[in-house]
């Protein structure tokens, strides 16, 4: 038991050392500054994917995370641009806004199961895009551009995070921000899944009727899980808008929603850290196939099919024994 615990602590420490020290060190030594942007994207996309993973965990196929990422991005951008809010304040607000919206949307649609829920969520992303085009507040197809970089964050006069615009290397700052949030997000996910809440989610996934017969308020639990999921989507979207300093209706499309889902599939639906690994592999895999030119998509999708056939439980099933003792 203690040995197991020590192992866990050691791997967490190793992971933190890699993402916070080794990666920045390696990048500054090799001078490949562009990798910061790539890895920041991976971290953010994995946060959004973690949300999708959570909806999988209650037995719902969610292809609508793009909608919440877009929503979060617009909420943050509008609050910063039109109302002069600090980016740091808009970050949780964007997440909470998405969570609240997902409660309203989720209440009716979470009654659907299987492919029906998947279809509705797929439409959701498209609806979000069309809304962003049509609403006056989002500035239509022109989007919102020249969003200022995040300012300083001070609490009681103490500056915790410096103004990004004054930094020499804002890319490193964004990388550290994204990775910190990713670590926090997966910490929350791990705790959720390994507490009784995780078991309750599993009970929904495996049999909703039985779950309700033992007194579980299934409607409530589904909405909670979906809200947490959308919160992650909104936060990831908000940071994206801050990094690219712009947001357009086409910033998050159906393709992104599908990718969020694929990240979960690829990493493994049975493993909390599946979406993180899946995002990393998928993002770099796609980039590496760039050299194959017109065959990129063909090879990519072929590989995905093969991977799903050979490893239906995801990449992590290669390393972790198929079932851990409870």
């Amino acid at each position: 038991m203690t040995r197991n615990r020590n192992m866990k602590l050691a791997s967490v420490a190793a992971f933190l050392a890699i993402v916070f020290i080794a990666v920045p060190a390696a990048i500054s030594l090799s001078g490949r500054i562009d990798l910061y942007y790539t890895l920041t994207s991976v971290a953010l996309l994995s946060i959004a994917s973690a949300g999708v993973w959570l909806t999988f965990y209650i037995g719902r196929i969610n292809i609508g995370q793009g909608a919440y990422a877009l929503m979060g991005a617009y909420v943050s951008a509008i609050l910063v641009m039109d109302h002069g809010w600090s980016f740091w304040l808009t970050l949780p607000v964007a997440g909470l806004f998405c969570a609240a919206a997902s409660v309203l949307i989720g209440l009716p649609i979470l009654r659907l199961r299987g492919v029906y829920f998947a279809m509705v969520t797929l439409t959701l992303t498209e609806v979000a895009r069309l809304l962003a085009l049509a609403l006056p507040i989002t500035n239509g197809a022109k989007g919102i551009v020249s969003i200022p970089l995040p300012g300083a964050l001070s609490v009681f006069g103490l500056t915790i995070i410096p103004d990004f615009a004054t930094l020499q290397n804002s890319r490193l700052a964004f990388y550290l921000l994204a990775v910190t949030l990713m670590v926090a997000c997966f910490g929350v996910m791990y705790r959720l899944v390994h507490s009784r809440i995780g078991k309750l989610c599993q009970s929904l996934q495996q049999n909703e009727e039985l779950a309700s017969s033992i007194g579980v308020n299934i409607a409530y639990l589904r909405v909670i899980a979906y809200a947490v999921s959308s919160f992650f989507g909104g936060v990831a979207g908000a940071i994206f808008a801050a990094i690219s300093q712009s947001i357009y209706p086409s910033s998050f499309t159906v393709t992104d929603s599908v990718n969020f889902m694929l990240n979960c599939f690829l990493g493994g639906l049975g493993y909390v850290f599946g979406p993180m690994l899946g995002t990393l592999v998928l993002y770099f895999g796609w980039d590496m196939l760039f050299q194959t030119g017109q065959f990129q998509l063909l090879i990519y999708s072929g590989l995905m099919i093969v991977l799903m056939l050979v490893l239906p439980n995801g990449l992590l099933s290669l390393t972790v024994p198929t079932r851990k003792k409870a």
């Binding site: 009784r196 009727e209 039985l210 017969s213 007194g215 299934i218 409607a219 409870a326």
Partner: protein, 259 residues
């Protein structure tokens, strides 16, 4: 004996079809009451009405005087009316013990946030659930299978697990949906003994069943349905002698009503 559950004038229509028509009866505390009837008599519908999986068109179900019909199933469960399922409905990918532990949900004192943070209350809950789960598994003879993944269990044990899940909710009345279906004689007798033991431990049980010999053996009282209506109610020997019941079952073998 005090009345535990009271079904009064309950009716369920599906479009033009009246599946259950103005049925009334009551279940007394610590008795085993069986509902029987030929195929299509409305047993399953009645069962779902009592467990609040269906909303009645008219009439009501009361538990210890409190109305429970027309509420959500998890509310009925909270009040103390808990059902098992006809199919082998379990949490397939959890271990047997996990199945029973999760079913202690209604006894939890900590909130979701409490569980997330791992507060003292949450930890106490977990410990209490684990202990209680072990006791239930021992009672139903599943202790040796506690760490088995539920989907690997043989048929008879699955049924027992279904009952274990029901027991974990600490119900006032346990509704069993065809507990003997698909069992051979020996398994049935073992199940009969098990259900009786639960009754002797103070549980009130209502069951819906096809297997007549088992019903005659196990029941304190029997309610007979035919075409959605109650045609008889009484002790097993009264039911066996009832003309209406014999008529309803005419065409089926005499054996079917234990003659």
């Amino acid at each position: 004996m005090a009345e535990m559950l009271e079904v009064s004038g309950i009716t369920k229509r599906f479009g033009g079809l009246v599946a259950v028509n103005n049925v009334s009866f009551s279940v007394r505390e610590k008795e085993i009451l069986s509902v029987i009837g030929p195929n299509g008599a409305g047993k399953s519908t009645l069962f779902k009405l009592i467990s609040s999986f269906l909303r009645p068109t008219a009439g009501e179900v009361r538990l210890k005087g409190e109305r429970i019909s027309g509420m959500a199933p998890h509310i009925a469960a909270r009040k103390g009316v808990v059902r098992t399922f006809q199919e082998t409905t379990i949490f397939k990918n959890m271990s047997v013990r996990e199945n029973v532990i999760i079913a202690h949900h209604l006894r939890s004192k900590a909130s979701l946030v409490g569980y997330f943070l791992g507060t003292g209350t949450a930890k106490a809950d977990e410990a209490a659930f684990g202990q209680s789960a072990d006791e239930i598994l021992a009672l139903l003879g599943l202790a040796s299978l506690a760490n088995e993944i539920a989907r690997n269990l043989p048929h008879g044990h699955l049924r027992a697990l279904g009952i274990a899940i029901g027991l974990a909710t600490n119900p006032s009345i346990l509704l069993l949906d065809e507990p003997f279906a698909g069992m051979n004689h020996e398994e049935t007798m073992r199940m009969v003994a098990m259900v009786r033991r639960l009754r002797d431990l103070g549980l009130t049980i209502l069951l819906v069943e096809h297997d007549m010999p088992a019903v005659m053996k196990i029941s304190d009282r029997i309610v007979v349905l035919n075409f959605g209506q109650k045609i008889a109610e009484g002790t097993p020997s009264e039911i066996q002698a009832n003309e209406k019941v014999i008529e309803a079952y005419l065409g089926s073998e005499d054996e079917a009503i234990g003659l």
